[in-house]
Subunit: 186 residues, 2 copies
DNA sequence: GGTGCCATGTAACGAGTTACATGATTTG
DNA sequence: CAAATCATGTAACTCGTTACATGGCACC
């Protein structure tokens, strides 16, 4: 995975690990389901972490001493994870280390666009129309989130990624719209 | 994976499969190494496909009848894959079907940014500086590619993704630069 | 004709994906 | 109180990642 790191006692830490460590740091002691909802409504917009990982990963991190687990006895018997000093250190260390320009845009629309010389003109037109619609929808979702949370000072840092989302979706919309003018007959 | 599809005789086709099918369609009969180089210099810029997949995947597709294999007898004994009618159909079918707004931006920089309320100010400043540098470097790479290939009519379709890259990187640079003004002391 | 890099793979392992399962809560 | 949905997981399988291995080819 992207820049995996081994830490004492040979646990490999990847993006998923840091999402868990960071999420629990921001939320306080949490269950996997808490993490799932948190990720879905925030990071999940640009980087999806499947819920099965958010159940598996905390278990690994707990085994490595970066989290503690406590399991309910009655009811749903759910596991609540809390961060340890070691976990906090690992998160801080990651935040402090240099970040290569590791970025990946896994966009099926762009992938198809690359191969459209094999496709029919109708396929290309349809693709362009769908992409415009999809990106507009995403942008609208971001706007809704912004209206809801944009001015809460306690979220000031977290909403920065939302601003990045605006920039990106705006750029994608312009790109596809410009392409529409070139390829879609009016 | 993103929108996997089963086709006759239960082969699952994902993005990697279509990259292989599409690559061989554009290049003609190819070895895995040909695919590797092709992907590295084109799609790989926004979606990395590891070379081990580009060796494994054609084997699967050949078994499913979407490619043919031929193996050299002497020398490097390399396998050359060519597309079959079924393979071409599968590619066309994929290009023709609707594309959900499936997009994922796996950007470690943004991930860290989301969690910077846990980090120190120096970490944030360093992050911002690194990201600006990284995105500028990427943009420069795209510009070089554009100068090299932008006006070749036979690549007209393929370079469209490069234009998307411009839009994207430009947006990211603006985003991080604006952030720099806000957080980095002058 | 040796040396070093390039080409062509393979293997092992960890991560991601999908599907399923089941018990708790909520809601009609 | 039945039905639907939510919450909490687990399992199987595929994909991605990393590392290694080796033989060919080019170049000195």
């Amino acid at each position: 995975m992207y820049g995996m790191i081994r830490i004492m006692s040979s646990v490999r830490l990847g993006p998923t690990s840091y999402v868990v460590l960071g999420g629990i740091t921001l939320l306080g002691p949490s269950t996997s389901y808490d993490l799932k909802r948190f990720v879905e409504t925030t990071l999940g917009h640009f980087w999806a972490f499947p819920h099965s990982q958010l159940y598996a990963e905390p278990a690994r991190l707990a085994e490595a001493g970066l989290l503690t687990v406590e399991r309910e006895q009655g009811g749903r018997r759910r596991r609540t994870y809390a961060i340890t000093a070691a976990g906090h250190d690992a998160l801080r260390a990651w935040l402090g280390e240099p970040t290569p320009g590791s970025q990946e845009l896994r966009d099926i629309g762009l992938l198809k666009l690359f191969f459209t010389e094999v496709a029919s003109d109708e396929d290309l037109e349809a693709l362009v129309r769908e992409q415009i619609a999809a990106h507009r929808a995403t942008l609208a979702r971001y706007q809704w989130l912004w209206e809801r949370f944009g001015d809460r000072p306690e979220y000031a840092r977290r909403v920065l990624t939302l601003k990045a989302g605006f920039a990106l979706e705006g750029a994608m919309i312009s790109f596809w719209e410009q392409l529409a003018e070139e390829v879609v007959p009016t």
